[in-house]
């Protein structure tokens, strides 16, 4: 027997990508034409909840006029001993996925921005009451999130009732965001790790803290917390923070231990807030990369969607290639956009003071989190397309890195290329060192010598990129 035998339409993951066009829709809930709409999850005390109760503050679907848009609110109230208010956001975001599993029921966006449509076809099949939607949600939530012991759902479509609740919801979102953004790494004992990407980056372990989103931008500390408790065998696990080794760079004994274990000993130390030394590893699905530009002693940032060459002449894919695969590469740092909004963002390297270039699109998105005095000093593709342009721009706008330029010049002179390349060149058949024809003081006589080589490979000599070792200091 299927879980949804009593639902008039099919329910399944395959409907997730279904789009319902205006011509095919029976009615619309929320959306651009409706100002007041919301979805909200709240954690309650068990006694406050009647499990499985579905309430409709009318009109119901069957009483709605075809082709019209309606005010809409959905309130999911849950209870369970392990449920904490911190997890409300996690529960709430599943409303989107679960609604979309329903054939002919589309859910777009989230929170106060939701936009849902019911298709004519599904309405004709009998999906004519919120009762059904509520049942589907109740069953899916309880089967997927066993930490929910009791759950009740209320649908609001009466504009008079939606309005006050909408205002209340806005307040709750704001408080929740403030709490989430305000939560500091110092204030928790546990971080979360994610090893999901190990299937393609076997030594990569994402460390997720309140102030550092996962590289992919998809998992916050709260999500990690929920995931680890819901599915203890899953890819997300708790990391006991342990001792603070270095507050500036973000080194924690617990993190080092966990990463060492999960990377099979490959990675032994991680500094969370810097791009140098022991930077966080990069997987393959990071949203953007911070890359060091030695010529200006600053960081460029390029995101996945940027199609042109970055300011250093390299495209995202090339830059991504130099850091992906679970490696720690000095000066290259795969990151999420959300991490750029964190006060810990590249903290040890100077944070935003060290960022010199990023695509306009990203700049717009994170503008509010860039210190006001720096916003205009950071270049985008509109200001600089080459490193020379960039130098000029930074100088003209007196970007903080400019002050370091003289200092840096000295460092370059001192820097010795100590790094050994991990990739040794193929061994050539003959090299100067094995056949020291040019050795001074000797005379070499070759008589009747035959040298035969099937193939000789000539490597062009590589010059060490000095910049990479500068900022280690």
């Amino acid at each position: 027997m299927s879980m949804f035998e009593d639902i008039p339409v099919d329910v399944g993951v395959i409907y997730e990508g279904e789009r319902i066009r205006r011509n095919d829709m029976h009615i619309e809930l929320g959306g651009p034409d409706i100002k007041e709409k919301f979805e909200l999850a709240r954690v309650k005390k068990p006694e406050e909840i009647e499990d499985g109760k579905i309430t409709i503050v009318r009109p119901d679907l069957k009483d709605m006029q075809e082709g019209k848009s309606y005010s809409f609110g959905i309130l999911i109230e849950v209870a369970g001993p392990q449920l904490e208010p911190e997890l409300e956001g996690v529960v709430e975001r599943r409303i989107h996925a679960y609604c979309n599993f329903i054939e002919g029921f589309m859910h777009l966006n989230q929170r106060y921005d939701i936009w849902m449509r019911l298709s004519k076809k599904s309405f004709q099949k009998g999906l004519n009451s919120f009762e059904y939607i509520g049942k589907v949600l109740h069953r899916l939530f309880k089967s997927e999130l066993p930490i929910i012991e009791k759950m009740q759902v209320t649908f609001f479509t009466d504009p008079e009732k939606v309005k006050p609740l909408y205002n209340e919801a806005l307040g709750i979102y704001e408080a929740r965001d403030a709490r989430a953004r305000g939560l500091k790494d110092e204030e928790v004992d546990r971080f979360y790790g994610c090893a999901l990407c190990q299937s393609f980056a076997p030594t990569h372990v994402c460390v997720i803290t309140p102030q550092r989103y996962s590289n992919c931008g998809a998992i916050s500390w709260f999500d990690g917390r929920a995931a680890a408790s819901i599915d203890p065998k899953g890819p997300v696990f708790a990391i006991e923070k342990g001792e603070l080794v270095d507050a500036e760079k973000g080194e924690f004994s617990g993190v080092n231990e966990a990463v060492k274990k999960k990377s099979l000993g490959e990675i032994t130390r991680v500094w969370l807030y810097t791009s140098f030394g022991y930077p966080h590893t990069s997987c393959g699905c990071f949203e953007g990369v911070a890359f060091y530009i030695p010529e200006v002693d600053g960081f460029g940032i390029v995101h996945r969607g940027y199609k042109e060459a970055s300011v250093n002449g390299l495209a995202f894919s090339t830059i991504a290639d130099s850091t992906a695969g679970g490696r720690q590469v000095d000066g290259f740092h795969g990151l999420s956009i959300e991490y750029m909004r964190s006060p810990k963002f590249l903290q040890a390297d100077g944070g935003w003071k060290r960022v010199v270039w990023l695509p306009k699109e990203v700049k717009e998105r994170v503008k509010d989190f860039i210190p006001a005095e720096l916003v205009d000093k950071i270049a985008t593709e509109e200001n600089a397309k080459t490193v020379d342009d960039l130098k000029a721009f930074l100088k003209e706008h007196n970007h903080p890195v400019v002050e370091h330029w003289k200092e840096a010049a000295v460092v370059i002179a001192e820097a010795t290329p100590t790094e050994t390349r991990e990739e040794a060149p193929a061994v050539p058949v003959i090299t100067a060192s094995t056949l020291p024809l040019t050795a001074g003081g000797f005379k070499i006589i070759l008589k009747d010598a035959k040298i035969y080589a099937k193939k000789v490979i000539i490597h062009s000599e590589k010059t060490e990129k000095k910049g990479e070792s500068i900022a280690k200091k």
């Binding site: 599993f101 299937s199 199609k307 894919s317 006589i445 010598a449 193939k455």
Partner: protein, 783 residues
């Protein structure tokens, strides 16, 4: 980049440093190496280099032979009966003989593409510049030739660099072909290993051909928004003089477009194409149009709409000249591989050839210079078209009805029809004046014309069928996105995660010829089904054309409805037959760009990665040719399963897994070294489906991989179960083999599946980091 054969001989040479007497220095090859990636373990693999990997595959996916013919008649010992456990006079048994024929087919296929590539590269080097830089996608592509890098270990930067790889391919095919001689290879598994080798070098050959033409001829460069082109009988304005090009090798067609451009005649002459030349000429010029796939040759020639026909090579009807003569259209043959018995006029003055053709002194000419083909074709067609006045040999309706009344319903036509079309019945209706049943046949007809040959009354049955459906045919015009070429590195980076984690349930490649049992509409239906399910659908060749020939209620084809990006829900036409390596290349790039596996000459590891992690499946629904056989085998060796349509069983053998044998489905967990059961993922490497329903269920099933995360497996299972339930009306009977733990169960089917698992006494399994190669087991550092 690479210089060959340096030899220095010095009798006596005195310097400050030393004295050299009789010094001979001989260097086979000097290679200037600019590529930082170190050489992998298997550069330019010989025919036995990857044999161990092949045997791993063949042990799990055992060859299952379907003899198409029970005897061997390849030498004068024979014919030898090989039925049962008999052996032939040379000692060969049935299994080895069947695999030997498969190898022959794959050698033919590989040789065809490699020779095609050789011709293209030499022609382009001569006409343009040996040093033309290779460019398939500008900034968006770093890995210009994933297959060539993987197999050969070279990084080609300029046109001339491709020669090393070509030489390698040619050498391999010669070795492989020699193994089919009487008294050479005796083991069927070794024949099979060689089949896989042929497929692999075939992929290199194809990649080179497409790389060269994309770079030099300015085809779309990995463009998701490659332009839409017109396709169909009504695609071109045939009131103008019309040149039809047929085949695969584009230079002569390019010659035509270039000549038209030079003379300011573009738009005054229509250039239409059939088969892959049509793909490639529309990648070259927006002025060219597509008639349709390989199966449309007879109907279009007989319709008389083409005033002149230019054939190059591959998949061209051997009777193209005979048919063209019937409609008084001159033929220009332009490839040394397909001379059609015509006199070689390459060195004759053009005016002379043109006048001979115009006056009908000769039915056609062989011209082995693409530019000259352009000139002669255009000048001839301008003069021939008015004289021909679209002369057609398609009979009038009344004639059909009259002939139909004389039909004895002997059923010979139906017997001859590869798809058993009910022609006698349709003739009976036609006798009564109803041509609709004949028109219905046209939709599914693959255009082989065997009915014509079979008819004891010598009725041109194929022409009858065409006439019956003509009204519709002449109205039809569809939109197809022209071949975009490679997949961008950035696209790979975007979808690499979701594919490897299983959130994009799979990459489905709908490729191959148009020998469909029930018409090309099925291909369109399959493509749309999987695009809707948010798979990535890639296509090429005749399949790419067929799927354009269906419109929805708004009159849109799937190319207008679905994006052309390599992303969930996209439908991408990569191009012609030789564009297929872009599909293999995408799988390879997922391993190399996304997962950072070393690419260079590292075949085994990459194939192991793809087999265990990349949910890609090929469907060659109408596969007909030997080329299709070698293309498929190139995918097998890389770990990509291929499904063929009902005619595909005539390839004589399948590579089938046995889900009932647990021992076959163990892999190493690379993190611990232990051997773990992972279920039959993917279940087969090569199998045939009888119906489109069966094909669809198989596609969904064969996308499962041992590495799927729980979320990914749940998504893949959902599609498999959903399609199975919808198309067979029951739950599949093997779900328990694919559920590893409770989180794998599709959330909307939990109760139902838990009950099934209980019945099957299912036990939870782990999800390993899977590999078949013990050397890839990771060592924990510091232990």
């Amino acid at each position: 980049m690479s210089k060959k054969g340096v030899h220095v001989k010095v009798d006596e040479f005195k310097t400050d440093v030393g004295l050299f007497k009789n010094l001979e220095l001989s260097i086979g090859r000097i290679v200037e190496e600019k590529w930082a990636e170190p050489m992998g373990p298997t550069p330019f693999p010989e025919i036995t280099t990857l044999r161990d990997w092949d045997m791993k595959l063949l042990q799990r996916y055992k060859p299952f032979y379907l003899p198409f013919c029970d005897v061997c008649c390849l030498c004068t010992f024979g014919k030898c009966d090989l039925t049962g456990d008999k052996r032939g006079a040379c000692g060969l048994n049935m299994a080895a003989q069947q695999s030997r024929i498969v190898l022959l087919a794959c050698c033919i296929g590989a040789a065809t593409h490699i020779a095609h590539a050789r011709h293209l590269v030499e022609h382009l080097m001569e006409k343009y510049d040996r040093n033309t830089p290779l460019n398939v996608g500008g900034l968006n592509i770093d890995i210009e030739a994933p297959v060539t890098r993987l197999v050969c270990g070279i990084k080609a930067e300029r046109l001339k660099d491709l020669e090393d790889a070509l030489e390698y391919c040619e050498k391999q095919v010669t070795h492989l072909l020699s193994a089919t001689h009487t008294g050479q290879e005796g083991s069927n598994l070794d024949f099979e290993s060689k089949v896989l080798h042929a497929g692999m070098v075939d992929q290199v050959g194809m990649e080179i051909a497409d790389l060269a033409q994309i770079s030099v001829l300015g085809f779309p460069k990995a463009d998701p928004e490659a332009p839409l082109t017109d396709l169909g009988f009504a695609a071109a304005d045939v009131s103008k003089p019309t040149i039809l090009v047929i085949g695969h090798n584009v230079p002569s067609s390019v010659g035509i477009i270039d000549y038209l451009t030079d003379k300011g005649l573009l738009g005054k002459v229509e250039v239409v194409g059939i088969c892959c030349t049509a793909h490639d000429i529309t990648r070259y010029s927006s002025m060219a149009k597509i008639v349709g796939p390989i199966s449309w040759q007879l109907r279009y020639i007989r319709s008389g709409l083409a005033d002149l026909i230019v054939v190059d090579e591959q998949c061209i009807r051997a009777d193209a000249l005979v048919e063209a003569q019937k409609v008084k259209a001159p033929v220009i043959a332009s490839s040394p591989k397909n001379c059609l018995g015509l006199e070689n006029r390459t060195e004759n003055p053009s005016e002379q050839v043109i006048s001979d053709l115009v006056e009908g002194k000769v039915p056609g000419a062989l011209i082995l210079n693409p530019d000259k083909v352009g000139e002669v074709a255009v000048e001839t067609v301008l003069k021939v078209a008015p004289k021909r006045n679209k002369f057609s040999i398609i009979p009038k309706k009344e004639e059909i009805i009259k002939d139909a009344q004389e039909c004895t319903e002997c059923n010979e036509c139906m017997r001859a029809c590869p798809n058993n079309m009910p022609i006698p019945k349709a003739m009976k209706a036609a006798a009564k004046g109803d041509l609709n049943p004949l028109a219905d046949i046209l939709e599914d007809c693959i255009g082989c014309g065997r009915c014509d040959s079979a008819c004891p009354n010598d009725f041109p049955l194929h022409s009858f069928i065409v006439k019956a459906g003509e009204e519709q045919l002449l109205k039809e015009k569809f939109k197809m996105r022209v071949g975009r070429g490679a997949i961008q590195d950035v696209e790979i980076r975007n979808v690499g995660g979701p594919i490897v984690l299983g959130e994009i349930p799979g990459v489905v490649a709908l490729v191959g010829c148009a020998n469909y049992p029930k018409g090309g509409k099925e291909v369109a239906e399959i493509a749309e089904e999987f695009a809707k399910r948010r798979f990535i659908v890639v296509t090429s060749g005749c399949a790419a054309m067929s799927m354009a020939m269906v419109k929805d209620e708004e009159g849109k084809t799937i190319y207008e409805k679905y994006p052309g990006a390599f992303d969930a829900g996209g439908i991408l036409n990569v191009g012609s037959c030789v564009s297929n390596p872009h599909i293999a290349g995408a799988a390879i790039k997922i391993a190399s760009i996304f997962a950072k596996r070393k690419l260079r000459a590292n075949y085994e590891e990459i194939a192991d990665y793809i087999l265990n992690r990349v949910g890609a499946v090929g469907l060659a629904w109408g596969a007909m040719s030997q080329k299709a056989a070698s293309i498929a085998s190139g995918f097998w060796r890389l770990g990509v399963p291929v499904i063929v349509g009902p005619h595909g069983s005539k390839y004589r053998r399948m590579l089938l897994g046995r889900k009932d044998i647990d021992e076959d489905w163990y892999v190493y967990n690379a993190r611990t070294g232990e051997k773990v059961y992972v279920g039959p993922t993917p279940e087969h490497l090569f199998t045939a489906a009888e119906t489109k329903e069966e094909a669809m269920v198989l596609i969904a099933k064969l996308c499962m991989r041992p590495n799927d995360t729980s979320k990914g497996r749940a998504v893949k299972l959902t599609h498999y179960i959903d399609l199975h339930k919808r198309l067979y009306s029951v739950m599949p009977d093997d779900i328990h083999l694919y559920v590893r733990n409770q989180a794998d169960i599709p959330i909307t089917m939990k109760d139902e599946i838990l009950k099934i698992l209980e019945k099957k006494e299912w036990k939870e399994m782990g999800i390993p980091d899977p590999t078949l190669l013990p050397r890839l087991i990771r060592k924990t550092k510091g232990e």
